[in-house]
Each structure stands twice: as C-alpha cells, then as structure tokens.
C-alpha cells in the first residue's frame, strides 16, 4: 500500500448562500484546492453529497461537477453515506491512491440545503434514518439524538449543562473561523434558554442547515514531495470505516456509538497510534450529545466521562485535546456532504500551522471523525505532518 498525502485544501464560506448554486459552490472549493496544491491535472474526482436529488432535484452529480470544472473526461464518482458522505469520499480517493490506481485525486464534498423549506430539509435529512423502523413513525433526527442524550444522562449522569458546554465551546471556536456560518458568542444561559426542539435538546444544541463545499487534493507521497515545496507534508496515516444498525431499536447499546469506536480502532491500528497520541480532533457534533459520545468512542475519555471533560475545558483550545477548533458542525455549519471533507481541511490547516488564531500549538497528529445518521456509519482519518 502506497503512502498518501493531502497537498491542497479549499473551502467556501459556509452559510445560507442563496446567491450560489450547488455547482458554483462546488467549483469554488475545487478551484481553491487545486490552486492550493498547485496542480491542474487529475486522475480522479470523488464527490461526497448526501441528497442532491431531494435538495435540488439533481442526481448524476459527479459528471456534472467534473464538467463544471472544465474537466469532463476525468473519472468521477459520487459516494453517499448520509452525513458521512464527505469522509467516505476521502476514504474512496485514499484507497485509489494507496492501491496505485491513481496518483492525484480531487476529493470533494458539497451540499446545497437552503433551496428547500425547513420541512423539506427535515424530511430529506430524515431519509438517513431507517425509514421502516424510524422515519415512517414520524421521528426526525433531533428526536433520535434526544433519545441518545436521554440514555446517556440516565446511564452516566451527563447533565444538561454539560451538553450546553459543547455549544458554548464550539461557538467560541467558530468566532475564530472566517468560513464559519455563525460568528456569535453563545453563553451557557443562551443555550439553556433557547427554544426546546426535542427534550432535552434545545435549538442551540443542534447544528444548522447550511450550504457549502469543501475540497482536498490528495496524492501519492512520491508525487506530493514534488509538489509541496517548502510547506509541511501532511500524510494520511490511518483510515477506518465502520457501520452499525441504522435504527436505534436494533443497536446493542444506546450509550455508546459502536461505529465510531470501530472506525477509530481501525484508523488507530493502521497508523500505529493511540488516542493519547492525538493532538487535535475534529468530531461530528451534529448535536451536542454527539460530540460527547464521539470523544468517548474515540478513546479520548472513558465511557461516561465525555460530559465532564468538556465541562472541565479539556476539549477547549488550550485544553488537553482540543476538539473542533474549527467551530465544529455546530458553529461552522453542516452542509452534510461537505462536512467530512471540511473536517480534514481543518486538520490539515492545524498540522501545517496555518490555522491562525485557532491554531493548536505544536499539533503534529490530528484525527477527524465523520458520522452518518445517528451513528449508522462512521469514518475516521488520522493525519500526521512529516
């Protein structure tokens, strides 16, 4: 297996981008990544996108965007695994380069979510749940995560304030990220007073609906060395993919995210690293409880202690293991297909020492965890600077 490096990243601003279509957003991120990498020839394009059919009425996306980039002819494939589509797009591109099928791959993620009204967006996202066991009975994602939160609170004594601490931290980080959808300081009281969505989750426990795109250029380390010049070389040293039952009813446990644990174990094994080696992490905080459960499943904290860890500031910038320095899905925004790719872009910025005010000092090993649905899929990548 060949070694693989990330040599370019590109992001659009995240938000309610009413003036730009999916293809325009995608091309903006793709061009930024190509410019960052200094390449204009590709062997392959992968596109992570959850539901362009429901959000904008467009399928057959990979060829569409390849053409938009003026690169019709290049092989392109869309991959989908709900909100983990972006992480999966990287996994797919990584496998191609590692196997020697491609040398330079453009890995992208995109979602255009605000062309439809809130009810349609909720329905479209809801198709990532098990329709027969969950969706048809009326439950939506806030309800599913509310049940996970309730179970975690019952089993481990996780408190309402600990959930809120995730939102407070991630919004504070998002203030330092120019691409973030929200630049607002959120207090504990703001979270606890925000509109109830699905008990115990309130509005400020939930990630928003977002338009945005993210892109990476990855290459074999051999090719990468020719291209990066003086900049640090960031290698992908671990990649793990795992599944779990989509429906909560068919899970072995409601208090741990087994797919995250398995994907993490596989990525750690490939890279030869352990949780205590990680300097910075981006995790999938689609709801505040998800970040707490992900930090436990990834082994940063013991099961049941993720809540107290965030409360003590262990995951804040300057803490023991900074989590979501980008602001996370919570503050940066969650264009679902783009999220997993944007997480990698943040880790690359951190490892290159280019993260500005939100830079984690001395970060050399980073981890990104992307998740589909309520935990039915998880993708974990570990990146290291050479």
């Amino acid at each position: 297996m060949r070694e693989v490096a990330v040599i370019g990243t590109g992001l659009t601003d995240f938000g309610e981008v009413w003036g730009k279509s999916l293809r325009t957003l995608w091309a903006e991120a793709a061009l930024a990544a190509l410019a960052d990498a200094g390449v204009d020839e590709l062997d392959l394009i992968t596109v992570g996108c959850m539901s362009p059919g429901l959000f904008i009425g467009q399928e057959h996306l990979a060829s569409l965007v390849a053409d938009e980039l003026g690169m019709a002819g290049v092989g392109a494939a869309r991959v989908e695994s709900a909100c983990a589509s972006g992480g999966l797009a990287l996994r797919a591109g990584f496998a191609e380069v590692a196997a020697g099928l491609a040398d330079v791959v453009l890995v992208t993620g995109v979602e255009k979510m605000t062309d439809v009204d809130g009810a349609t967006a909720t329905y479209s996202l809801g198709t990532a749940a098990d329709q027969e066991w969950e969706g048809f009975h009326g439950i939506t994602f806030p309800g599913l995560y509310a049940m996970l939160a309730r179970a975690h609170m019952e089993a481990h004594g996780t408190t309402r304030e600990q959930l809120a601490a995730v939102a407070v931290k991630n919004h504070a980080n998002g203030l330092l990220n120019p691409h973030a959808q929200y630049h607002l300081r959120v207090t504990m009281e703001d979270v606890l007073r925000s509109t109830m969505v699905a008990e115990p989750l309130r509005l400020l426990d939930c990630s928003p609906i977002t338009d945005g795109a993210a892109a990476l250029v990855i290459a074999s380390v051999e090719r990468a060395r020719e291209l990066v010049g003086d900049r640090p070389l960031v290698k992908i040293t671990g990649s793990g993919l795992a599944t779990d039952a989509i429906s909560l009813a068919n899970r072995g446990s409601l208090t741990e995210l087994a797919a995250v644990r398995l994907a993490g174990e596989r990525a750690y094994r490939m890279s030869g690293r352990t949780p205590s080696d990680i300097h910075v992490a981006e995790v999938h905080d689609c709801f505040t409880i998800a970040e707490i459960m992900a930090t436990e499943a990834l082994g940063f904290f013991d099961e049941g202690s993720g809540g107290s860890a965030v409360e003590k500031g262990l995951t804040a910038l300057g803490g023991r293991i900074p989590v979501n320095p980008s602001g996370g899905l919570k503050s940066k925004g969650h264009p679902v297909g783009a999220t997993g790719v944007a997480q990698i872009a943040e880790i690359v910025a951190q490892l290159r020492g280019e993260a500005g005010q939100r830079q984690v000092e001395g970060a050399r090993i980073g981890l990104a965890q992307n998740m589909g649905g309520s935990g039915g899929t998880s993708v974990v990548h570990i990146l290291e600077v050479a």
């Binding site: 309610e16 009413w18 605000t114 009204d117 809130g118 925000s194 509109t195 109830m196």
Partner: protein, 352 residues
C-alpha cells in the same frame, strides 16, 4: 403646486387572539415566539368584516377629517389588498359605491403582497399631482391569511387605512415632500391561484427580501431629499412582526422614540397591505405641525415604497374629527379562543 393628504382614517376589528392561544393548539413554545418575533396578540376580523367593509370604514374616517370633501369630488379609488373577497370582480367598486363616489371615478384593485396599500396611495397622489383628479383615495386593507400551524399564523391580522389626497392648500394636513420606490424580482413569499394560504421561503423573507428592500428604499428617499434620520419626527416601516421594523429603523439610525408611535404590530399583528399605512394613521393622530414623517412599506416579490410627508398647521385641527387608531387598538377588545378564530377565519370546512 403642492399636494398631500387631506384626510386619513383607520379601521381595526375589535376581536383579538393572543399568541399563547395559537401556540397552545400547535404545541409551540409561546415565550420563544414572543421573544423572537415580538408579537403578543393580533386582530381577528368578525363574521361581517372583510377587506371591503374595513376599507369603507377607514374611508369614512378619512372623509370625516377631510374638511368636507364631497365623495363625488373623489376622482379615483384604489384598494390595495391580497385578500380581495373576489378573485374576479373589484373590491373598489363596492367601496366607491358605499362612500358615494360613483359613477365618475377611476377604480382599481391592487395587489403586491404587503405593499398594495402604499401603491394605491402612490397612484392617488400622482393623479392629484398631475391634475387629473381633484381628490384621490388610496386604501390598504387586508384580512391576512396564514396557514394553520404556519409561522404566519402568529402574525396574519386584519385592518385597513385610507388616505384622501388633494391639492387644495386649505385642506392639506400632510404635504407629500417626495416619493421613491425600490423593486426587484425576489420571490420570498407567494400564493398561487386556488391556493388557500400563501407560502414563504422561510428565512429568505428576511435579509434578501424585507431588509434589502426597506433599507434601500429608505436610504434612497433620504438621498433624494437630502434628509437624514435625525430630521424626522417619526418613521414607520412595514411591520410583518414586532422585530423587523425596529431592526430596520435602528439600523438606519433612527431612535426608538421616532419609531414607537407607528409601531403597532406587537399588539395588532401584520395587517399586510394595511400594516405601514395604519402605522401612518397612528402617527398623524398625534403629529404636530411641521413634523417630517418617513413611511416605508414592503411587499414580498419584492418592492418597497417610501414617502416623506411634512405636516401642516391643519393636522392638529382634524385629529379629533374621527376615531383615532390607538383607541381602536387598545380599547373594547374581545378576545377569542382558537376555535372561534378558526371559524371566523374560514379555517373549518363546513359540511354540504
């Protein structure tokens, strides 16, 4: 030769429904709606009240303040609304007939979401200014529609405002200093034929629609006239809820005191075509001679009309000649429950 408003009048139904009563039915969180939209209650039209009846009442109040304008002297009647009782057949003919302005009168119904009222005012003023008519009547009135459970249901309300324009210097109470319109094709809110209720583009109705148009229109008329916020005694902005007009006004540099008098939506709701015009009636009710007043409407689709008025000595003389707006808003209220409201608003489908 200058022209301006010679008489104004409003009509607000007596019935009200509280926001909590609506929220209770739909399992919504009333405190966060109140905080978010700054809405407390809204007017509800009775069984015998519609756009036509409210327009007639408002027009009669305007006539009462007009210093004896005879209805037959009115050369045009324009009714702006998105709840005309008929899809085909004018509201304006009924209104013109009821106040005695027929038959030598130009009549038209207007529709431009929430700004149809100021369009009628704009046209009536323009025909007077051109010398085509002696007096012109512009009305904004609505029994606004909001689908059951939709966010609009917390605001969609009923009311009317009427303004008679003329060029007779003995009668002018507020001279039209300038007008200005700012319009683009921005589809933020619409109702197609045969649809009972309008649809809206969620948060798209905020920044790209309401704020972009109202702010551009208000800035445009201030640039045209060389006036600045501190020159005005009062400013009235379209009020789809309590929050938007205050935010638009303060963003432009107006003080809360300048906005307060015409800010009725927290207790009235959104009367659509009637909204900013009724706000203007509340301002004229208490205005003092020489006041500069800014009026900026907004209609989805989208556009924004602005007027600058300067009151004359006569304004104070006719304020008491008809029922004022604030007492209609604050006195003699009848609170209804959701069931009664649903019946009155035609939300219950009757058997054959």
């Amino acid at each position: 030769m200058s022209d301006g408003i010679v008489g104004w009048g409003a009509y607000i139904p007596r019935r009200r429904i509280k926001l909590e009563e609506i929220a209770k039915v739909w399992g919504a969180d009333a405190p966060s709606y109140k905080r978010g939209l700054q809405l407390y209650e809204k007017s509800v039209p009775g069984a015998d009240e519609d756009t036509v009846t409210m327009s007639v009442e408002a027009a009669r109040n305007a006539l009462a303040r007009s210093g004896g304008v005879r209805p037959v002297q009115i050369g045009c009647v324009y009714v702006g609304s998105e709840s005309h009782p008929y899809a085909v057949k004018p509201s304006g003919t009924i209104v013109a007939e009821a106040i005695g302005a027929t038959p030598e009168v130009h009549v038209a119904d207007l529709e431009f979401a929430c700004k149809a009222g100021t369009e009628g005012m704009f046209l009536a003023h323009s025909l007077v200014k051109a010398g085509e008519v002696e007096f012109g009547l512009g009305i904004g009135a609505d029994t606004s529609q909001g689908a059951p459970g939709d966010a609009l249901e917390y605001s969609a309300a009923a009311g009317a405002a009427a303004f008679i324009f003329g060029a007779d210097p003995e009668r002018i109470v507020a001279e039209v200093v300038a007008t200005y319109s700012w319009t683009t094709d921005t589809p933020d809110f619409w109702r197609r034929e045969y649809m009972h209720y309008p649809r809206h583009g969620g948060r798209f109705t905020g920044e790209p629609a309401y704020f972009r148009h109202t702010l551009s229109s208000a800035e445009g008329i201030m640039a045209k006239t060389g006036l600045k916020p501190s020159d005005f005694a009062h400013a009235i902005f379209h009020q789809p809820n309590g929050k938007f007009p205050m935010r638009a006004g303060t963003k432009l540099g107006f003080e809360r005191e300048q906005l307060q008098t015409g800010w009725l939506s927290p207790w009235l709701g959104n009367t659509y075509s009637g909204a900013s015009p009724i706000g203007l009636t509340a301002v004229l009710d208490i205005a003092t001679p020489g006041d500069l007043i800014l009026l900026t409407s907004f209609g989805s689709g989208a556009g924004s009309d602005s007027f600058v008025f300067r009151t004359t000595d006569r304004v104070a003389e006719v304020q008491a000649s008809a029922t004022k707006t604030r007492p209609q808003l604050e006195d003699n209220k009848i609170y209804v429950d959701y069931g009664t409201y649903a019946k009155l608003r035609g939300k219950i489908r009757m058997g054959e």
